[in-house]
Symmetry: C2
Subunit: 354 residues, 2 copies
């Protein structure tokens, strides 16, 4: 099966081999060695000198951890929403009893820094702004650097970036761009199986977390930071996944992160060109390099198309989510996905659309 | 390395092979087939006809999910605490702003149903009682059947049982004993790597969950139940771990759960007899079959002992946790741990203590 879905993505052979190694106990020097390498690898892909917290959860757990660790009852928060994952931040905030101001953008369009500025001016007490780096449901790339700069000019709000599908595929600089919290997960550009999530946390965000009063225990950052000093996690870590992730990070380090960004950008350009050659329209205004969303031709039975591709051609691509269900399809080209995989997927797609 | 720790425990070869298989996408028939088998296997080890929820988290995530899904601000709750994991329930409840009544028992002693009755009589509004089946930090077995019966006679409180280290090692009947919620995790008797947690939820508990107002999103049971109908999880599942767990449950089904219980009990009896032969005292009053905690001889340097065992003998056993650190050691004999492993571990221990 050729996996061209935006998570889980294919996992390199050496990562799968580490996954199948005998389980090791976490209270050992051997584990601390793995965890130390993992920390180094994570700091390097997040481009941060700070700690990167590790959770046994999906990416949504990391998103919730940012809400629960940064805010208190009654706090003002702002969400930029132009897709399923922007909506998810808003839903998490509401689940915790908060009433976020939501800057809604048309799905497929990139976030507009000036609209964010206006929202912050009308809510000067905003404690945190929640953004997507790449919105997986629409394939759009947001200019996180410009958005973070806009937030900083207007307010003291913390900038929280969901880079779950973006990290290690699309350029992102946690420290240099002044991002307070960056979230990621194992199963996208990080080339490991799903089940781990990460949060890079700035000093400003740590200060906020020490005062924040929303309830949390399993996802409590303070406990994670405390354990990190001893190269441990507060609760039993998902050791097999951590070993696999450490290996995947080694592969990224060996290739070089900038080279991974370039390779991903080249594959994205190739994919977009091929789709246009097939007469298909790229969906987002600012397409991300990690995945390409494109409109399905009018009248396409999207479920039948995707099922045919999967069952008969052995190619797994993703359909639309939420209000885009049935209208778009998405091809990922992040992480371990190779040009030959994308080519084979596009050929099968072209045959079926013909 | 011979792993004799109460989680993670060793993982059978066929489970490791499944773990290292290519990652499969979750929105496929293939995944639904795996997830359907997993559900069947889980219902069979939990001894329930109801759904068993699946979380990508450690066991603590499942413990927190029980608190957040069953209770509302201001609710009364009761915790039986005689070890690290009883304390953990109390800490989670407090993290959510509740003030549980805690029935504290001496560490190493089993829970006393009559003390629980008295606590419920003085707090007749108690909404839920939180118990351990086997308290991993002391190695004690609680008579969950008698405790649940006592709760039922005194009140309408829900009975929540942490069987994270007990399930599939020590007899437990979710439905027949009237347990409302039973929690477990992948890395103990269930013979898979850490990273998955489970909750069996009774109809009474579902009703309570539909009214409960503590905040939750990632750990929300309603979302999990809704997805379960479509053989999915609400957020990206840890597919590799789920495939591994499905294989481990198949192994348990092939051996037969009662036979697993008997094998575990025999191995526990062997371990206790050997430790006594070495002049060591079993720590708990009612030792569980899944692990044996024993007192270290006066003056033992426990850290040096455990490190020597690990580094020089290749045997990994656990020390004491919390107030028992340095005073006891713990040998697990659950899941895939074999008599030859325990024998080798005990021989190495005996040489070092001599």
């Amino acid at each position: 099966m050729i996996l061209l879905t935006p998570g889980p993505t294919p996992v390199p052979d050496s990562v799968r081999r580490r996954l199948g190694d005998p389980v090791l106990h976490h209270r050992t020097e051997e584990f601390r060695g793995v965890f130390s390498g993992l920390q180094e690898g994570l700091r390097s892909v997040f481009r941060t000198r700070g700690p990167v917290l590790v959770m046994a959860s999906s990416g949504t757990g990391a998103m919730e951890s940012a809400v629960a660790n940064l805010l208190s009852p009654g706090d003002s928060a702002c969400v930029h929403s132009a897709g399923v994952f922007g909506e998810r931040f808003a839903r998490i905030l509401r689940a915790y009893g908060l009433s976020p101001s939501v800057v809604e953008e048309e799905w497929g369009r990139a976030a507009d820094p000036s609209r964010l500025r206006r929202a912050l001016r009308s809510n000067p007490k905003t404690k945190a702004v929640f953004l997507q780096h790449t919105e997986t449901s629409t394939g759009v790339l947001n200019d996180v650097r410009a958005l973070a700069a806009a937030v900083r000019e207007e307010s003291d709000a913390l900038v929280v970036v969901d880079s779950i599908s973006g990290l290690a595929g699309s350029e992102l600089e946690t420290d240099a761009w002044g991002l307070d919290v960056v979230l990621a997960a194992s199963q996208k550009g990080l080339m490991a199986p799903p089940g781990l999530a990460y949060a890079a946390v700035s000093e400003r965000a740590w200060k906020a977390a020490s005062r924040a009063r929303l309830p949390r225990f399993y996802l409590d950052w303070g406990r994670m930071l405390e354990s990190l000093g001893d190269l441990q996690t507060p609760f039993t870590p998902a050791v097999s996944l951590l070993c696999a992730q450490a290996e995947a990070l080694d592969l990224i380090a060996r290739e070089g992160l900038e080279r991974v960004w370039r390779r991903t950008a080249e594959l994205a350009a190739f994919t977009r060109a091929e789709l246009r050659r097939l007469g298909l329209e790229i969906f987002p205004s600012e397409p991300a390099d990690v995945l390409t969303a494109f409109r399905l031709p009018e009248g396409t039975d999207s479920a039948a198309l995707l099922e045919g591709l999967r069952r008969e051609d052995g190619v797994c691509i993703a359909g639309g989510q939420g209000r885009l269900a049935g209208r778009i399809a998405r091809i990922a080209h992040m992480g371990h996905i190779r040009k030959s995989d994308v080519s084979a997927g596009l050929k099968a797609l072209s045959r079926r659309l013909a």
